[in-house]
């Protein structure tokens, strides 16, 4: 018997008796011999808890992580400090182990959390309705594309190259299923979305335009102008945003954006080598009944007590089936919980203080490195520079357990020598100077 099952020989006897079967094998009689596996599956034998722990600890030890190196990697996921109370709350069985709250009477905890999450996202995005989470950032962008299709029945999606490469990729992948095409809009010399190009790309058949705030290179976009250009022909305006940066940036909802989506990792979620985190999806009131995923709503019980339920479920696959607004079922409830707890921890003033610290350090870092900036304009949490000897820098840095950031070359041939540097509240001025010294080292050499 495994440590997770409880059937003793005595139990087995009683149970087979009640079933009226002679053996457990009999229970599988419906499976044709021809498709039965006539051997053991080829996997190593089971291990004790201690051995499994040791094995996984050994694997983990072979990864260089944000505690074992000084990292300036960002490009979509960022090394923010996650307060201890989040670990504690997420480890509670009451939050960790239940399924989607199909029985609201015994799920008020999870449902109220969703309602609070929706409120916080609505506050940040400036849009009145939010769902309770989608998978993560890039697929949230793709989900916005599907809503645009259902809403407009048009077949073209226009995306800024400032949109995260993974978001553009996910959008293209999904668009094939939607029967839509994706057209990309270039960036200006200062790495902001080219408004004219965007305006030019939008036509009568355009279902939606997509851009990101701040964009993939950290540039603060002029959302208002982009939205106006995108809206011209009745296309929906979709903005992907960093929710933490929205603590000090003007909400997309106040600038003509119809749908704001994004990656929630920056809100109290771990790096986890890329997931699980959560995606958020907020929109204007008129899209309420076209939203993807779970939405919690407030109501009353038979005794008149305030309560919360999953609402507008007629949008969803389990009711609407082929007519559903999206196929999503399991989403990211636990990660969204971390998100709303994190936002409540930061609070009204804290999110501003944190974002301003990030903002100032980012600008300070860009100067400190003394390299040619790819985006010399306003940046929030990240910036791109050209590095004469990128390989050399990485070699020197790696030797000192420093990770200089993300190399833009693979996604942006136009920035072959580009380095994307991310700054958070965990990267101190000292850390920044350390990177600057590594960058300067060569300057030293060549001087």
């Amino acid at each position: 018997m495994s440590r997770y099952t409880s059937i003793t020989d005595q139990d087995l006897e009683v149970m087979l008796g009640a079933i009226g079967a002679g053996s457990v094998d009999e229970l599988f009689a419906d499976i044709p011999e021809s498709v039965r596996l006539d051997r053991e599956i080829d996997l190593p034998p089971g291990m004790s808890e201690q051995e499994v722990y040791d094995h996984l600890a050994a694997l983990a030890a072979r990864n260089r992580h944000a505690d074992s190196e000084l990292t300036f990697l960002g490009a979509g996921m960022y090394d923010h400090y996650v307060p201890a109370l989040i670990d504690n709350l997420l480890s509670r069985s009451e939050f960790l182990t239940p399924y989607t709250p199909y029985q609201p009477e015994i799920s008020q905890g999870g449902l109220q959390v969703m309602f609070e999450f929706q409120t916080a996202i609505s506050e940040l995005t400036g849009l009145p309705v939010s769902n309770a989470s989608v998978y993560e950032g890039p697929s949230a962008v793709a989900a916005a594309g599907y809503l645009a299709k259902l809403e407009t029945r048009r077949s073209k999606l226009v995306a800024s190259r400032g949109l995260h490469p993974h978001s553009r990729a996910a959008l293209r992948t999904h668009a094939v299923g939607y029967g839509m095409e994706v057209e990309e809009v270039p960036l200006t010399g200062e790495a902001a979305t080219d408004v004219e190009a965007l305006a030019a790309a939008v036509d009568e058949d355009t279902a939606a335009v997509f851009f990101q705030q701040p964009n993939f290179l950290g540039t603060v976009e002029e959302i208002g102008e982009l939205a106006e250009a995108g809206r011209r022909t009745g296309a929906l305006v979709v903005c992907a945003a960093d929710p933490l940066a929205l603590g000090i940036l003007k909400p997309p909802g106040e600038q003509g954006v119809d749908i704001c989506v994004g990656e929630g990792q920056t809100l109290g979620n771990r790096l986890d080598f890329g997931g699980p985190s959560f995606g958020f999806f907020a929109a204007a009131e008129r899209f309420l009944r076209k939203m993807p995923g779970r939405i919690a709503g407030e109501t009353r019980d038979v005794d008149g007590r305030r309560g919360f339920v999953l609402t507008l479920q007629t949008r969803e696959q389990h009711i609407r089936r082929e007519k559903a607004t999206h196929n999503i079922c399991t989403a990211q409830a636990l990660n969204a919980l971390a998100g709303v707890v994190y936002l409540s921890w930061l609070g009204k003033r804290g999110i501003v203080e944190l974002a301003e610290l990030m903002l100032r350090r980012t600008h300070h870092a860009r100067e400190a490195l003394g390299l040619e900036a790819i985006n010399p304009g306003p940046v929030v949490r990240e910036f791109a520079v050209r590095v004469p000897d990128l390989d050399g820098l990485f070699e020197r840095a790696r030797a000192e357990r420093v990770n200089p950031g993300y190399r833009l070359g693979r996604d942006y041939p136009e920035y072959e020598d580009g380095l994307l540097v991310a700054i958070t509240e965990r990267r101190t001025r000292e850390d920044i100077e350390r990177l600057a010294r590594l960058v300067g080292a060569r300057a030293g050499v060549t001087a």
């Binding site: 600890a57 959390v113 599907y146 003007k250 080598f273 939405i295 005794d303 007629t314 707890v341 903002l359």
Partner: protein, 513 residues
């Protein structure tokens, strides 16, 4: 005791209503760089004018708020949770410990693979284990959940057919299919065609043959199906589907019934998705996170998403692990980065904990538990009211019909489910699958001891006796839960989907509590 419980009618209070201006749980690290005015760093056009109305609250009250909320949830570590089709098996605490190791939790997804060999080896090993379990050679871990895996499966099917120059417009799904199946079909740009169910609960072969036409791209099937029955005709089904040039897709939600016993790949399935949050025990988290890896046959492999984790060089573990982005025929990316790695860690730990026989044992006990509970619920005093929908040996779950209770006792499946809440067990999945009247879909899972199954049978009997005595008792249930039946219709008619300050703009300061 309500009259003696002074807190009986206490109202729920949101975190926003607890806010008081000036309080804080967060203290920022000191600003160690020049305090340049924000207006010099950000264009006025993009400056937020008024701060987002986030709560202002101290740490002690923040903790109390969410701890108190949590206690309003029923959960798996509290009691029996036979939610059909969801495989609510125990979530080992070890998994949370290994997932939290800094080498996992603090690893950046864009770390140079050279410095993430441990993580890539883990993914590679998990791919191998999943491939062996499903009997299909190639695995992508990328999809975020089962439905995401389904979408991947149909996009792969489309790519496969397109490369062969075949134009297909329809996808077949049984009328017992889970909602995500048809929803996925539409999202993937196909038209849904329903296939009927035969008297024995399996696919109606004649109907299938009739509908498996040239323009069909795929049949999506779960086997055992959502009735908990293994389709004996699976080989014939595969033949029919393949003869039509369509792919056979395996919805892996029910894989927990057959690990180490039979494999979708051996049954003729071309594409499989796994629900790591079901079969491989990622905690459900109140609705995620999960992961929906897919396994495919050789002919589908070229189209798998990017990146793929590969091992280059020495087969004696000496090899290096790489992320392969160079896949010209790939459907591309379904999401960011490499998928829900934190989920992979847990499921990998699970597979290594159980090993080959442990996994087989899990499936055997899952099926044993289901059949035992089915037998207990077939006893007189229950069976008259809750007849089994299809009376066959079931796999890991089975479906009862509340039709008898409705007619003879005047209580519906919903009423019985609500009354179960007072008995501190989670009700089964109800009103699914759709073709069963007043359906009650029961999946005990292998991690339940016999006492829990007996206890549940006794509860069902007790509720039916209550109903026989006075149906009101059951119809008005629950009574002991934090709230009682909620007005869902009203919630949908006049949706309130966020909290709003009674008196903007400074609500938090004055109202609430």
């Amino acid at each position: 005791m309500t009259e003696l419980d002074p807190r009986a009618n206490e109202e729920a209070v949101t975190i926003f209503e607890r806010s008081r201006a000036g309080r804080r749980a967060f203290v920022p690290p000191p600003t160690d760089v020049p305090e340049v005015p924000i207006s010099e760093l950000l264009p006025a056009s993009q400056l937020r004018e008024r701060p987002a109305e986030l709560p202002e609250i101290s740490e002690p009250e923040l903790v109390r708020h969410y701890v108190t909320l949590s206690s309003k949830n029923f959960h798996l570590d509290e009691g029996f949770y036979p939610l059909g089709s969801c495989t609510m098996k125990h979530n080992p605490k070890l998994h949370e410990r290994v997932a939290a190791l800094p080498g996992h939790a603090r690893l950046h997804p864009l770390q140079d693979p050279e410095y993430a060999q441990g993580a890539l080896e883990l993914m590679w090993s998990l791919q191998g284990a999943l491939a062996e379990i499903a009997g299909l050679p190639h695995v992508s871990l990328q999809p975020s959940a089962g439905s995401h895996g389904e979408l991947a499966g149909l996009l792969l099917t489309r790519a496969y057919h397109e490369e062969r120059g075949e134009r297909k417009t329809k996808v077949l799904t049984p009328d017992t299919a889970h909602g995500t199946n048809p929803a996925t079909v539409t999202m993937a740009g196909y038209e849904v065609v329903k296939v009927g169910t035969a008297p024995d609960g399996g696919v109606d072969l004649d109907d299938l043959r009739a509908k498996a036409t040239e323009d069909v791209a795929c049949l999506m099937l779960t086997n055992p199906n959502t009735l908990g029955l293994f389709d004996r005709n699976i080989e014939e089904i595969a033949r029919v589907v393949h003869d039509a040039g369509a792919t056979l897709y395996y919805d892996g939600a029910n894989l927990n019934a057959i690990m180490g016993i039979a494999r979708p790949g051996d049954m003729g399935f071309d594409i499989v998705h796994y629900n790591l949050h079901k079969t491989f025990t990622q905690p459900h988290g109140g609705g995620g996170p999960g992961a929906g890896p897919i396994a495919v046959s050789d002919r589908i492999e070229p189209f798998l998403p990017t990146p793929q984790v590969l091992r280059r060089g020495g087969d004696n573990g000496a090899g290096r692990f790489v992320l392969d982005h160079d896949r010209p025929k790939s459907i591309g990316k379904l999401r960011g980065f490499q998928g829900n790695f934190g989920v992979f860690v847990r499921s990998y730990a699970y597979i290594r904990s159980l090993g080959a026989d442990g996994l087989k044992d899990a499936s055997q006990v899952a099926v044993l538990n289901a059949n035992y509970l089915k037998a207990r619920l077939a006893e007189p005093g229950i069976a008259e009211y809750l007849p089994i929908a299809f009376d066959r040996t079931c796999m890991h779950e089975f479906v009862l019909s509340g039709s008898g209770a409705k007619e003879k006792l005047g209580v519906r499946t919903l009423d019985i489910a609500k009354r179960m809440l007072d008995y501190r067990v989670h009700p089964p999945t109800v009103y699914f699958p759709l073709l069963v009247d007043e359906a009650m879909m029961i999946e005990p899972t292998e991690t339940e001891p016999r006492e829990r199954l007996d206890d549940f049978a006794d509860i069902v009997r007790a509720i039916l006796e209550e109903a026989a005595e006075d149906p009101e008792i059951v119809r008005d249930a629950p009574y002991t839960t934090p709230v009682r039946r909620l007005d869902e219709a009203g919630a949908a008619k006049r949706p309130v989907v966020r909290w709003r300050p009674p008196a903007a703009p400074e609500p938090a300061a004055n109202d609430g509590q």
